[in-house]
């Protein structure tokens, strides 16, 4: 069969794009894009130098701002022909540097694709352009009693194209799934300018499940130009149970007990004492500050269903040794319970000049052990860490506090973070639950996968992008990079969007 890909052995080493001729690329793009859709002067390029992970910055060679699919096709054809790398970009809120530009490449911004093409309450689907913000879909569907379920913390700003690229989650994915469970169809363009559709408006598509491959592919396989998403009936009611524990391991065990009782909460979050103290100061959520850990356990559905489930939750949490249980009496109180959880990131920002957010996922049973290990690491690295978890699905967001102006602190924070990720892999988990690998966690990919597996990923990429021009250097480390890894630790990240809630 095809022996070309064998001979190429993709992924051995970083590709070299230093020969890309800026003048030629600008001239060629200017022929296919209208005025104002092409940026190449230094001062215009600066705003694109980073995404939500601002510790990594790189001014791109060129920024293209197409407005139609035909223009996207034309841009990709030019880049393909001239061998220029392409980095697709949505709102730039990603936390792993997935949209970090390439010095010799083109940033393909989908910011002008902002139209909701249709919202159909009868089929419970919406067709949207990639630059539509996540929350806008739910707003457009709300009059029909429907919403789009995945709710990443940046949902007021992040766009659906970026959600597809990262397979974004949120606080409700235990019950309602990730992006991959809520997107029915993606239309996009491959690097050679072919328009392709993955999935369709029915329950499945013929052949291999390319939709699953495309979702979470970090812009490495195709550029999204349209998505069809599933809309879910809005639950009539939601109530939240707050449970306090005098021991973190007991809180971790309570999470397991809730699941063992056959309950799938709409949300199940955990915060340790340093986290509750930090947020209480900030938003006055009324958390019990003497508790070593608290759980927030949400039930949604019909009023009858919620009443029944809340009683079951209460019984399990009591039996698990909760020292205090409160059930939200009204929507205002429910939102107050959540306000503290959602304020964890800004609260960390108030405690410390800088913080570094991790995103490992582990089997739930190791939550207690992970918290103990993190406590030991706090001593080892001389840094504080506050812990907020999407406990229901084992997704951890430890926030390591540091001050980049103190010599050595950034490096210690990075080493601290890397150790948490490697421990996540040891516990049978993963280095990233929902933020993506991007550039940030690319070295830790070497700990999670073998050479043969990384080679397989590169061959998957080559099946869509044989020339390796879409977002090169992200998500999957080259074998060379892994060989060097050990001492090379990437630098950490701060958040450049302080206005966005992060949870």
């Amino acid at each position: 069969m095809n022996t070309i890909h064998e001979a190429l052995a993709p992924g051995e080493q970083e590709a070299d794009f230093s020969g890309v001729d800026k003048v030629r690329v600008v001239e060629a793009l200017a022929r296919v894009l209208p005025a104002g859709a092409l940026l190449y002067e230094a001062e215009d390029l600066r705003p694109y130098e980073c995404d939500g992970l601002s510790a990594y910055r790189q001014v791109p060679m060129i920024v293209a701002l197409p407005k139609t699919e035909a223009e996207v096709v034309a841009v990709l054809k030019v880049c393909h022909e001239l061998g220029a790398p392409v980095v697709a970009r949505g709102a730039g809120t990603g936390l792993s540097g997935g949209a970090l530009p390439h010095a010799n490449g083109v940033v393909l911004s989908l910011a002008r694709f902002t139209r909701i093409l249709s919202v159909d309450p009868y089929s419970r689907t919406a067709v949207v352009q990639p630059g539509v913000r996540n929350v806008s879909i739910s707003e457009a569907a709300a009059p029909y009693g429907l919403y789009y379920a995945p709710d990443p913390s940046s949902q007021i700003a992040c766009t659906i194209g970026g959600n597809v690229a990262e397979n974004s989650g949120g606080v409700h994915c235990l019950k309602y799934g990730l992006t991959v469970h809520n997107v029915l169809r993606v239309r996009g363009v491959t690097i050679d300018g072919e328009v392709v559709e993955f999935g369709n408006h029915g329950p499945d598509a013929p052949g291999y499940d390319l939709l699953a491959l495309a979702i979470g592919s970090e812009g490495m396989l195709a550029v999204v130009t349209e998505a069809t998403v599933k809309l879910t009936p809005t639950p009539q009611l939601a109530r939240c149970v707050l449970a306090a524990f005098d021991d973190v391991t007991r809180a971790g065990d309570a999470v397991a007990a809730v699941i063992a009782a056959g309950i799938i909460p709409a949300g199940l979050e955990m915060m340790d004492q340093p986290a509750t103290v930090a947020v209480e100061d900030f938003v006055h959520a009324g958390y019990p500050l003497d508790a070593k850990a608290i759980l927030l356990c949400e039930s949604d559905g019909t009023p009858e269903e919620v009443a029944e489930e809340v009683e079951r939750m209460r019984a399990v949490l009591e039996a698990s040794g909760a020292t205090e249980i409160r059930v939200s009496r009204d929507e205002a109180e429910r939102l107050r319970f959540w306000a503290g959880r959602k304020a964890a990131f800004p609260a960390a920002g108030r405690l410390s000049p800088d913080y570094y957010c991790m995103d490992g996922t582990i089997p739930r049973k190791h939550i207690g052990a992970m918290l103990e290990a993190i406590e030991v690491m706090e001593g080892k690295y001389g840094l504080r860490c506050i812990n907020v978890f999407h406990a229901g699905d084992g997704n951890l967001h430890p926030l390591i506090l540091f001050d980049a102006n103190q010599p050595g602190e950034l490096e210690r924070a990075e080493a601290f973070g890397a150790e948490i990720l490697e421990l996540s892999v040891e516990f049978g988990g993963t280095i990233t639950g929902e933020h993506g690998v991007g550039i940030e966690k690319i070295n830790q990919m070497c700990s999670q996968f073998t050479r043969a597996e990384l080679a397989a990923f590169f061959r998957v990429k080559a099946a869509f992008d044989p020339a390796g021009l879409l977002n090169p250097g992200k998500a999957i480390p080259t074998l060379n990079r892994c060989a060097e890894y050990g001492r090379v630790r990437a630098s950490g990240g701060q958040l450049p969007h302080p206005e966005l809630p992060r949870f």
């Binding site: 089929s123 429907l146 499945d204 052949g207 056959g262 084992g394 061959r459 080559a462």
Partner: protein
């Protein structure tokens, strides 16, 4: 690495160098599905057993050759289930075959498809390499989602050695209602109900009767029963009905695929937007998944069936019977077919695994 896997690795490498084909096969209950099988049988049942199961993690990891019935019994003991209700099509069905076929049953209406529950796979690829993708956790975005690519790939990308599946608690309460409705009315009602917060978990329309299953908390099921009306079906009868739909032993399916080659006995599977209008093709139908899955026995030609599915925004599969040497799955657009060929080559460059089962030529 255990001896069995080592032996298979060597066998795959030999086949790759000699140009021979292998077909992974568990209980053979789904051999009818896809194009005609070629190659020496590689019996996956030699590698069986539940590797890890912790009910509180909602994850079970199991070897490919494990009987599906055994897996379901193990998790049922803890009050859990495979929410996508995969069809067995016989007592010998294996987990590996189930994942390779990628088929889901009645509960797919609300719970999602098999691929939605695949968290990780261990695969023996066409180079004889053992590769792990995904894992045992719910949220995992490290690397491409190859595990879900393997689901439904019909053994063409490699041998599934092990798979991790998300499991869910069995619902506390269930009830089945029946309604006398014609095809168009049934489709309309199903889509209207689908937009409301109702605990729907399965639907099947056949011969003017729509059966609707509700699953969830006691209170939710009780209030939905009151709200929806219809006739309550006896619980024992309902259980038998859903099992018959899932396993295709229901009256509608009996006789399909029996005498290969005759158009009338062929069973078509049309996957369409749930709101698609009635097919308007000759023959009998059974409609599942809220209107999005239409089973058809028809004297219409393959071209007519496929053209109609496409016009309605979906695709048609020649599920059982008919000519299995021709294409049974819907034709792919050229750029998508090119990606398929390259993906096949990425995992199985010598074309060892189940060549031609999905599409002619790879």
């Amino acid at each position: 690495m255990n001896d069995q896997i080592q032996e298979w690795r060597e066998r795959v490498r030999r086949a790759a160098s000699s140009g021979d084909a292998l077909q992974p096969r568990g209980g053979g209950t789904k051999s009818f599905y896809g194009r005609t099988l070629v190659g020496d049988v590689l019996d996956t049942r030699a590698h069986a057993g539940v590797v890890g199961y912790e009910p509180t993690e909602l994850v079970v990891t199991v070897r490919g050759g494990t009987p599906l019935a055994e897996l379901e019994a193990v998790i049922a003991e803890k009050g859990q289930m495979l929410a996508f209700e995969p069809p067995h099509f016989g007592p010998t069905a294996t987990v590996g075959g189930c994942v390779a076929a990628g088929l889901s049953g009645p509960r797919r209406l609300a719970a999602g498809a098999l691929r939605d529950y695949v968290l990780g796979v261990k695969l023996l690829d066409g180079r004889g390499e053992v590769l792990n993708f995904g894992g045992q956790v719910m949220k995992n975005v490290a690397g491409y989602d190859v595990s879900r690519l393997i689901a439904g790939s019909l053994g063409t990308l490699g041998l599934i050695l092990e798979v991790s599946l998300k499991v869910l608690p069995r619902p506390v309460a269930e009830a089945t209602l029946s309604f006398e409705l014609d095809e168009a009315q049934a489709i309309r009602r199903l889509n209207e109900w689908g937009g409301q917060p109702l605990p729907l978990s399965a639907s099947a329309w056949y011969a003017g009767v729509l059966a609707l299953r509700l699953s969830g908390a006691e209170a939710a099921v009780r209030s939905a029963v009151q709200k929806l009306g219809g006739t309550r079906v006896d619980d024992g009868e309902a259980e038998a009905l859903w099992a018959a739909v899932r396993e295709q032993t229901h009256d509608f399916f009996v006789g399909t695929g029996q005498s290969a080659g005759t158009a009338e006995s062929a069973l078509w599977r049309l996957a369409l937007p749930s709101v698609a209008e009635p097919l308007g093709l000759a023959g009998e139908q059974c409609i599942e998944w809220g209107g999005s899955l239409r089973w058809l026995r028809s004297s219409a030609s393959a071209e007519q069936v496929r053209a109609r599915a496409e016009a309605l925004g979906g695709h048609a599969t020649l599920y059982r019977g008919g000519n299995r040497d021709g294409e049974v799955f819907h034709a792919l657009p050229a750029p998508i077919m090119a990606i398929h060929r390259r993906l096949k080559s990425a995992f199985d460059p010598a074309g060892v695994f189940s060549p031609g089962r999905l599409y002619n030529g790879f």
